[in-house]
């Protein structure tokens, strides 16, 4: 009988348009929107790119020194060069700046370079720093006795020195793009927005539908009906979350970080928590069907909001100020589990998040069972 209930539960779930749309189609659409909007933000705002700069020379001896420095900064065989200079007249330079084709204009006047930019920014600050270094070198040279050849050679070696004194340590093997958190919250939303769980649970309620009345009258044990309905909802939710992960990873090629089997495991445990939440809401007594559906949306979306689905920084505000809420929020637990797979070398925080989700699910399933079994109705 379990298989019968399970089979028809699956059939119903796949035929309800709302379930198919919200579980399968909507997360994919939202994921595509995230990809369209976020995929190039980090590259354009955080990554270093060669800075285009217009240089206006003054046809004097100082031109040669400055040009030499600018050319040395624009020629890096191993890495991206720092500068891409365009030597031009001041009128042309002004036009380039206006068209935003260059970050700034360096003008030499009396051997002293000055900078014109169109606004604040880190690239503009880098340009200023290059000019600072030039002026500081001039200041160093003017500070020493030109006949003191030993000092002169030390100063010149310091000026021409482009050695880096800083060794980079490996931060992590994972993806440090801050926008991956939106994809984690999206996976959490896909797991938790479980209409099939609520609808399945409501279909057992005799006060909500005629199907519910029939199911209550049948000789099948309540626990079998509950388990069959629960499993059919779970299968739908698990398939939906796996399809989303496959879509993000293989179609959009989003680097989710961490190993794919463990990401899938997180989605499976998350879907279990989602179906448990849906079942719990569906099992709540004395609430109408529309109210239960609305409650399902509110609970899942609010949970995802706190995990950073709409505004990424909310997650950190909650983590810093209400850590207990972050620990117990199912969407945050899913997002944190995926984050820890991406960033950390150890699995402690991943296990902690998975344990929270499992305990949360067991508590809700048990409570739902208690609310549904042996329910009697005075009047229908």
């Amino acid at each position: 009988m379990f298989f019968h209930v399970f089979k028809y539960g699956l059939k119903i779930n796949f035929r309800v348009k709302e379930i198919v749309f919200w579980a399968f189609i909507f997360p994919i659409i939202l994921g595509t929107c995230f990809y369209a909007a976020f995929s190039s933000i980090s590259t354009s705002t955080e990554s270093f790119n060669t800075i285009n700069v217009a240089i206006v020379l003054e046809n004097s001896d100082s031109d040669i020194y400055f040009k030499e420095i600018a050319d040395s900064l624009s020629d890096d065989e191993n890495d991206l060069p720092l500068l891409n200079p365009t030597y031009c007249s001041s009128i042309e330079a002004g036009q380039l700046l206006e068209k935003e084709e260059v970050t700034g204009i360096i003008t030499l006047s009396g051997g002293i370079p000055s900078l014109m930019i169109s606004g604040d920014g880190i690239n503009e600050s880098i340009l200023k720093e290059i000019l600072n270094k030039y002026l500081q070198s001039v200041s160093m040279l003017s500070d020493i006795d030109v006949n003191d050849t030993a000092s002169l050679s030390k100063v010149l070696s310091a000026i021409n020195n482009d050695i880096s004194y800083i060794k980079e340590l490996k931060l992590t093997d994972g993806n440090t793009d801050v926008f991956t958190n939106y994809y984690y919250s999206l996976i959490a939303m896909c797991c938790l927005m479980c209409f099939s769980g609520t609808m399945g649970s409501m279909s057992i309620k005799a006060n909500l539908s005629s199907v519910g009345i029939r199911k209550n009258l049948s000789t099948t044990r309540k626990s079998v009906i509950i388990l069959g309905t629960f499993m059919s909802s779970y299968i739908i939710q698990a398939i939906a979350s796996i399809i989303l992960i496959i879509y993000l990873n293989y179609v959009l090629k989003v680097n989710l970080g961490g190993s794919l089997p463990l990401i899938t495991l997180t989605a499976l445990v998350g879907s279990f928590a989602g179906v448990s939440t849906g079942t719990f809401i569906g099992a709540l007594p004395k609430l109408s069907e529309s109210l239960k559906i609305a409650l399902n949306i509110i609970v899942s979306l609010f949970s995802c909001f706190l995990s950073g689905l709409m505004i990424g920084d909310i997650k950190y505000i909650i983590q810093d100020n209400l850590p207990l809420l972050d620990l117990l929020n199912p969407a945050a637990a899913i997002s944190n589990a995926l984050y820890s797979l991406n960033i950390y070398d150890t699995y402690n925080k991943f296990i902690q998040s998975i344990s929270v989700l499992t305990i949360y699910s067991i508590v809700l399933i048990f409570t739902s069972y208690l609310m549904t079994r042996r329910e009697t109705y005075a009047s229908l």
Binding site: A37, I41, S114, D120, E129, I343
Partner: protein, 380 residues
């Protein structure tokens, strides 16, 4: 009149949707206004980033280096645990972590290889900037240590040399980057207006177009033309009420900005977009048969056009391919006008008129689509 009354009666069901969206919109707007209260600076401000320094040397040199960093950037306290460093860098509360190793000072004095250590995000422009400064500091300092053999004097000289800074001017010819809150309001209003109009009006049109109701009305004394005219008037009236609700709010909330030429052009832009939204609702009302599918359509069109045309994410950050797709959406032309109005005074009137025209064309196409489909349905 009967049709109009019926329309208004059904529309009462939508008050909840209007209120929910309005409240979410206003809360979101207030949050945005707190995060984005930027002003245009006429003077250049050098970028300062968040740096965490782990000083394992604690020498006079490392303290002086810290003092130098502090004068340029924000020093952030951080735990030395690698997972805490990863967390801080992932959430961008720290942009760069510098580790000053033990015996750093002794190594410099002895002329040994010096190596500071760092954690940074991949290809980080912030790291490039700070390393330019740190390397410059160490080159100058080591040159003076070599020359003077006195660490205090070397630092004093280094500090003096580093005071030399280039002159920077901000070009007056470029547009202001100031983002006004009314601009945000009218940007995000596209999503809200589209969602509210589609979710309110389309279900009413679906109901009105239901076979039984349509036939019943047509066999009454009311002519088909009159029925359609009343439906058109009712649809437009409801759209106008929704439009006025948000416009009046903006006139009260941003009175100083809105009672101006820019404000009036914004309202005109929004009015034309409202007609586009009515076109979408009209077509959807003809195409769709089930009221439950309306929220799916509203979400897909609303979120899709907002992400693809630069409503949620600034256009400068979107990939060109995304914007190329966005051009096929009316929202793209609305945002074009809105962005042009942002630099009013230095604006291109053609862009504004072109934007209005494109939206009107989209509206005509949408209404035409609806009429053609409605005719073909009628002939069936």
């Amino acid at each position: 009149m009967q049709v109009f009354k019926a329309f208004i009666k059904i529309s009462r069901q939508s008050i909840g949707i209007i209120l929910t969206y309005t409240i979410i919109f206003i809360v979101f707007l207030e949050m945005m206004s707190r995060f984005n209260s930027t002003a245009t600076a006429s003077e250049f401000t050098e970028s300062s980033i968040n740096i965490a320094v782990i000083d394992n040397d604690n020498s006079s040199l490392s303290n002086n280096l810290l003092k130098y960093i502090d004068s340029k950037h924000n020093i952030i306290d951080i735990d030395t645990d690698i997972d805490d460093i990863r967390d801080a860098m992932y959430r961008r509360s720290v942009d760069y972590v510098l580790i000053i190793p033990e015996n750093f000072y002794e190594n410099i004095i002895a002329g040994n290889n010096i190596s500071l250590e760092s954690y940074k995000l991949p290809d980080s422009v912030a790291a490039e900037f700070v390393e330019l400064q740190l390397n410059n500091f160490i080159s100058v300092y080591t040159a003076y240590i070599d020359m003077l053999d006195n660490s205090d004097l070397a630092y004093e000289k280094t500090a003096n040399v580093l005071k030399a800074e280039a002159e920077v001017s901000v070009s007056g010819s470029t547009s202001s980057d100031e983002i006004s809150i009314p601009h945000y309001f009218y940007m995000f209003l596209t999503y809200i207006l589209l969602s509210v109009i589609v979710m309110c009006i389309t279900p009413i049109l679906i109901t009105m177009n239901t076979e039984e109701i349509k036939i019943r009305t047509l066999c009454s004394s009311l002519s088909s033309v009159k029925r359609n005219i009343f439906i058109a008037i009712s649809t437009f009236s409801l759209g106008l009420i929704i439009f006025l609700l948000f416009t009046v709010f903006s006139l009260i909330r941003f009175s100083s900005d809105m009672f101006s030429t820019v404000g009036m052009l914004r309202i005109l832009n929004c009015f034309i977009y409202m007609i586009v939204c009515l076109g979408i609702s009209f077509s959807a009302g003809v195409f769709l048969k089930n009221r439950n599918t309306v929220s799916m359509l509203a979400n897909v069109i609303g979120l899709g056009s907002s992400f693809l045309t630069g409503v949620f994410v600034d256009r400068s950050l979107l990939a060109p391919s995304v914007l190329a797709v966005g051009k096929f959406l009316p929202c793209y032309w609305y945002i074009n006008v809105e962005n042009e109005l942002l630099r009013f005074g230095n604006h291109n009137t053609r862009t504004i008129i072109y934007g209005y025209g494109m939206q009107i064309l989209f509206a005509i196409v949408l209404f035409a689509l609806g009429i053609v489909f409605s005719k073909s349905k009628k002939s069936e």
